[in-house]
Structures are given as C-alpha cells and as structure tokens.
C-alpha cells in the first residue's frame, strides 16, 4: 500500500549520558548531596543516626500525603484541603478514643474519614465538573471548620498508650526507624512501582497529558480522578493517625498550613503543575531535600520564617534555573 519503501524504526533512542545527567532527578540528587554535605559542615550534630531519625518524624507525615498529591497533580488536579482533612480525621480519632474504641478502630477511622472527605472532593470535581482548586479552597474551610465546630475551645488529649506508642517509638530499633518513616518508604516503593511499572500508571500519564484522548482511549478518566481524590484523602487520614499518635493531642489548628508545604515538595519533585509529567523518585528526593534542609538549618537555629524564605527561593530558583540555562543554550548558536 505504501508508495515508498517502509522505513526501519529503532526500538529506542540511542542513550546519551548528557540526557541522563540533565534529568530532573539527577539535579535533585546533586541538590540532596549538597544539602547533606552542607549540613554536615555547618553542624556537628547533623550526621547522627538518632538525630536524623528524629528529623524524619517531622516530615514523614507530610511526605506520605505528598505521594498521593503527586498523582493528583499528575492528572491535572490539586487538593488544597489535605491539611484540613488531617484535622477532621484527627478529630474522628479523638472522638473514637473518647468513646473508648480499641486500637484497630482508632487506626481505621482516620483513613476512613479521610477517604470520605476525599470522596466528597472527588464527587464535586468529577460529577459536578468543578475546578479542583476552587472546590478544595472551599472544602479546606469546611473540613477544618467542622473540626472547629465540634472541638470549639477544647482539645482531645486522652489517647490510649498503644496508639501514642506508634507515633513516639521506633518500629525498628536499629537503625532507629520510626513507624511513620517506614510507612512512608514502603508507600513510596508501592507508588513508584504502580506509577512506573503498571497499566494504571500509564493511564495516569495519559490522563495528565490529554484527558480527552485518554477518555476516547477507553480510560475511565473520571473514575480514576475520583479514586485519586479518595486516595489522597485516605493518605491524609493515615497521616492524621500518625500525627495524632505522635503528638497525642487533637486541636482545630492541627497541621495548619501543611497543604502548601506538601504541594511545594511535589512541585520541587518535578511534577508539572500542568499535568502529565513527574516521577515518584523525584518527589521522594524533594521530600528529603526539604526535610533535611529544614532540619539542618534548625540545627544552627535559623528562625523558621527565614528557613521558609530559603525554601521559597529554592523552589523558584530550581525551577527557573533550567529554563534560563536552556534559553542561554538556545541563543548561543544563533548569536
């Protein structure tokens, strides 16, 4: 049928080292090494296995939510209500604890309430076809507001010992690994495998790059987006369990402002806000960079707000720099 001889097509492009080095993940690895070396140099307390283990407490819960958020942003959605979901789920755990529920109930109710909140977001986004950024600005007020209505000026502070043990002791004694960090690592592996090695992962990339074509290709786009909202809520609920167990207290302002930190990690991890590109290893690297940089700077007592300035700069510079470099490289041959 063809008018010219058929052409031979290679299976894959010739692999070039330059391409690999220019990958976002490679840049992040360099950045992570820089942070570790820098921290080691500025503080003698940084490279201490117990200290590092303690540091993971403060970012593992956010990191768990970041995994789900990465998938959500990958398919062009966003969830600003995650921190509010944590508050509501923590409230549910607290009420259950007050009612005398046992450990299994306490462990389950957080993720369940989280998933229900996620389902509510997902319903509004996929069924009523509302933009997710707007929906979740609304639900972030609603979910945290509900927690505030129930708690008022009270706090729930009586948690059974077997729950708080999960947040305050190590799952593995040596090397000292907290529950939350191990759960994060396990989830990261699962997420990486699912996103990069399974049919579902391929579908997510297709949706992120072209939702209409994905739907025409027989991918249940709305169902997957809905499930991702549920998943994000579920992991926020799981984070609520770990956080509640760690601090043993539920107040309406719990996890306030986490949504922006989580989204920052995802974006720094190379997930495009426009959808369709990004990897789980990238997000994991970004989580470590942000967590360890914060920890290292706190070790030399840089005020938190100054740290947030530096992390803000890190975010913008790390995204702007490749663009500037690319422009300069493009201009050179012409000029």
């Amino acid at each position: 049928m063809s008018l010219a001889p058929r052409q031979d097509v290679a299976d894959a492009a010739p692999k070039s080292i330059a391409d690999r080095l220019l990958r976002w993940e490679s840049i992040l690895v360099v950045l992570l090494i820089a942070v570790i070396v820098g921290n080691t140099a500025i503080s003698p307390y940084f490279l201490d296995i117990y200290n590092l283990s303690d540091a993971t407490y403060n970012f593992s819960e956010k990191a768990i939510v970041a995994l789900a958020m990465a998938l959500l942003i990958l398919v062009r959605e966003i969830d600003l209500s995650v921190a509010a979901i944590i508050a509501l789920a923590s409230l549910a755990i607290g009420l259950a604890a007050q009612a005398g529920a046992g450990l299994p109930v306490l462990l389950l109710i957080g993720p369940l309430v989280g998933a229900a909140c996620g389902a509510f977001n997902g319903f509004l986004v996929t069924r009523i076809a509302l933009p997710s950024i707007v929906v979740t600005i609304g639900t972030m007020s609603l979910f945290r507001g509900l927690a505030q209505v129930v708690l008022g000026d009270q706090a729930i502070t009586q948690y059974p010992k077997n729950l708080t043990a999960i947040g305050q002791s190590y799952l593995i004694k040596w090397p000292p690994l907290p529950y939350s960090f191990v759960i994060f690592l396990a989830l990261a592996v699962i997420f990486a495998v699912v996103l990069h090695k399974t049919a579902l992962g391929r579908k997510l990339y297709a949706i992120g790059n072209n939702p209409v074509a994905a739907r025409f290709s027989g991918i249940p786009v709305d169902r997957i987006r809905f499930m991702l909202f549920v998943l994000t809520g579920l992991l926020a609920g799981l984070a609520a369990v770990l956080l509640t167990a760690r601090i043993g207290s539920t107040r309406p302002n719990i996890a306030l402002g986490w949504e922006l930190e989580i989204i920052t990690a995802v974006i720094l991890g190379g997930v495009s806000i426009a959808g369709g590109s990004g990897t789980i290893p990238g997000v994991v690297l970004a989580v470590f960079i942000l967590g360890l940089a914060t920890f290292g700077l706190s070790l030399v007592n840089v005020p938190g707000i100054v740290i947030s300035v530096l992390l803000g700069l890190l975010l913008i510079v790390s995204i702007a720099l490749p663009i500037v470099v690319r422009r300069l490289m493009q201009k050179r041959p012409a000029g």
């Binding site: 820089a34 942070v35 070396v37 820098g38 140099a41 500025i42 503080s43 003698p44 307390y45 940084f46 201490d48 117990y50 200290n51 303690d54 540091a55 407490y57 403060n58 008022g152 000026d153 009270q154 706090a155 502070t157 708080t164 947040g167 305050q168 956080l243 760690r246 601090i247 043993g248 207290s249 107040r251 309406p252 302002n253 719990i254 996890a255 306030l256 402002g257 940089a293 914060t294 920890f295 290292g296 700077l297 706190s298 070790l299 030399v300 007592n301 840089v302 005020p303 938190g304 707000i305 100054v306 740290i307 947030s308 300035v309 530096l310 700069l313 890190l314």
Partner: protein, 339 residues
C-alpha cells in the same frame, strides 16, 4: 532598627551561603564555650516574647558561662514547635525553656528531651506535667483571673454587662485565666455585672478588631470587656477608639504598656495589668541555670530566681513569679519606654 536590619540581612546571607555550601561562617554560632539554654516561645515577631528573651539574656550574662538560644516556630502550632525542639535536642543543648502552643502535644517531645539528659521547664504557657520539670507562672492563675475582674469592676463601679475577648480557643493559659475569672465572678459583689459572652480573636489584629465590633453590636448594653491577651486588648482598644465608643465601653486585661499607652491616654482603657516580661524571662532563666547547677525543682522544693527572689513549687509542679502589676494613666508612659 537599622542595626537589627543589618544583622538580619547578614543572617539571611549566611544562611543562604550555608545552603550553597559555604558553611564556615556558621560554626561560631553553633558551638559555644559554656552551657546552652534554649528559650522556645509560641511564635516569632511578638514583642512580649522579645522582652522575655531580653530578660533571659540578662540572667545569662549576670551568671556568666551560659548562652541563650532564642527561637520559635513560624506558625503558632504544636507540630512546628515540636520540630524546633527536635532540632534543639539534636544539638544537645543543656536546657530548654518553653512557652507551649499545646500543653499535651509537647509532652512526648519534652519527655524525649529529658530522657536524653536535657532539662526542660515551661513558662508563660505550660507543658503537661510529665513533659517538664516545673512550670513558672508569671503570677498565680487565680490571682491573674481575679485581678482582671477586679479591674473592670472598679472601672464600671460594679455595674454593667461584661464580655471576654480572648486569644485562640486553644491557648492553655488564656483558658485557665478565664476559668479563674469565672471563679471570681461567683462572688456576690459582681451580681450586677454579668458576663454575657466569650469571643475569640485568635491573636490576630483584624479578627480581634472585628470581634470587638461584633460584641458592641450584639450587646448594646455592653459596658466592659476583659481581654487576657496583649493582641486582643490592643485591637479591642483600637476598635473602641475608632468606633467613637470611648466612655461608653471600657477594656481591660493583660496588655503591654508600649502598646496600650494610646488607649489609656485616650480613655478607652482605665487600667490594665501585666507582669514585667523582662523579669519573667529573667526568672525562668535563673531557675533553669540553678537546675543545671544541680538545684532541685520538683514539687515542694524552693527555687531561687536571682534578683526576683525565690518561689515554691506546688504539688502540680507549678510556681508563681509574683503579683501582676497594674498600669494606669499615672505610670503607663514611663513603662512604655521599657516594654
């Protein structure tokens, strides 16, 4: 002002440099000769705590051989404060003085610090008893509560509706003071001065301001407001002045002379109380220094506070520094220069 600016700019610069692998500038800050005491407050950018820190430095200089690390989280939440304390534990500081954002949430991290040999006490806003050695109240809680009710009763002549404008609903110390106020209120002399509402300004100026406006509208017969928070009282006073309510509604509570000078002179506030935050920071630090030097601070023991004398720790592990000090037209201008 300019001095601080330059110092802070330098700090940012160095921090930025540390980020980019030029860390040598920092080592001096990180390692010191003597023992290190960290003062962790609720959040930064609060002049009350800045004054406390001034007192802490004063105590450290007075005794000698101690270095003060003054720090706080960006947001006034327990999680952030825990992260800050974790970093202090990692640095193996010798003592930590905390004003907590959440009494219960800080217990585990306080315990962890003590397990690793770090002495922990709280001031201003307590940590739960298991998470610290002792807590120093500026004054005893019943005294602070009673004082505020007495002040408004004096202003109003014991007649008229009164409301409370508090900070966030989660703040431990505000809540316990309100409890104490209600206790005082039970006395018969206040029967013509009912408490009609308790509202929360979340320690935000705009919210406190609006809540104050709302109170006046919701309770047309409102005569007095008690605000046991420095932000609440200053915004509430401002709302009274801006709303032309001077003479109709009076505010009292806990405020800083520097912030309340205007309100007192313009008549929105008759009198208000506070302890001297410089003294407060000083006393807390003196106690910590004594503990580090081996003093006992458990329930029943007596601890020394340098120039502020001494105090006895109660069975609940709490002690009080002294009586709150009252400010009015006669002395506010003088103290406004100090804090």
């Amino acid at each position: 002002m300019t001095k601080t600016t330059r110092r802070q700019t330098l700090q940012l610069f160095t921090a930025g440099a540390a980020f980019g692998l030029a860390p040598s500038l920092f080592t001096t800050a990180a390692r010191a000769e003597g023992k290190r005491i960290a003062m962790v407050v609720k959040n930064l950018g609060n002049s009350y705590f800045d004054a406390c820190a001034k007192g802490a430095t004063e105590a450290a200089t007075e005794v000698g051989g101690f270095e003060i690390i003054y720090t706080a989280p960006t947001k006034a939440t327990a999680e952030e404060q825990i992260a800050v304390i974790d970093a202090l534990i990692a640095q193996k500081v010798d003592g930590i003085i905390v004003s907590s954002n959440d009494a219960d949430a800080l217990v585990p991290v306080g315990k962890k610090a003590m397990e690793r040999g770090i002495k922990v006490i709280s001031f201003d806003s307590a940590i739960g008893q298991e998470g610290r050695i002792m807590h120093l109240n500026a004054s005893s809680t019943p005294l602070i509560g009673a004082k505020q009710v007495q002040m408004i009763a004096k202003t109003l002549g014991g007649k008229g509706e009164v409301a409370i404008l508090s900070a966030a609903s989660t703040m431990t110390n505000q809540n316990s003071w309100i409890e104490a106020m209600k206790e005082e209120w039970k006395k018969p002399e206040y029967k013509d001065m009912p408490l009609v509402a308790t509202v929360y300004g979340d320690d935000q100026d705009d919210k406190s301001y609006r809540e104050m406006q709302g109170l006046v509208k919701a309770y047309p017969n409102l005569k007095g407001v008690i605000s046991p928070t420095t932000i609440g009282i200053r915004s509430g006073a401002k709302a009274i002045i801006d709303g032309g309510l001077v003479g109709k509604v009076f505010i009292t509570g806990l405020g800083l002379p520097s912030e309340m000078k205007d309100a007192v002179l313009k008549g929105a506030c008759d009198s208000f109380a506070i302890w001297n935050p410089v003294d407060y920071g000083y006393s807390s630090t003196q106690i910590m220094i004594n503990i580090l030097n081996g003093a006992e601070a458990g329930p029943g023991s007596t601890v020394k506070m340098g120039r502020m004398g001494e105090t006895t720790v109660g069975d609940d592990g709490q002690a009080a520094m002294g009586d709150p000090f009252t400010f009015d037209k006669s002395n506010v201008e003088e103290f406004a220069k100090i804090f």
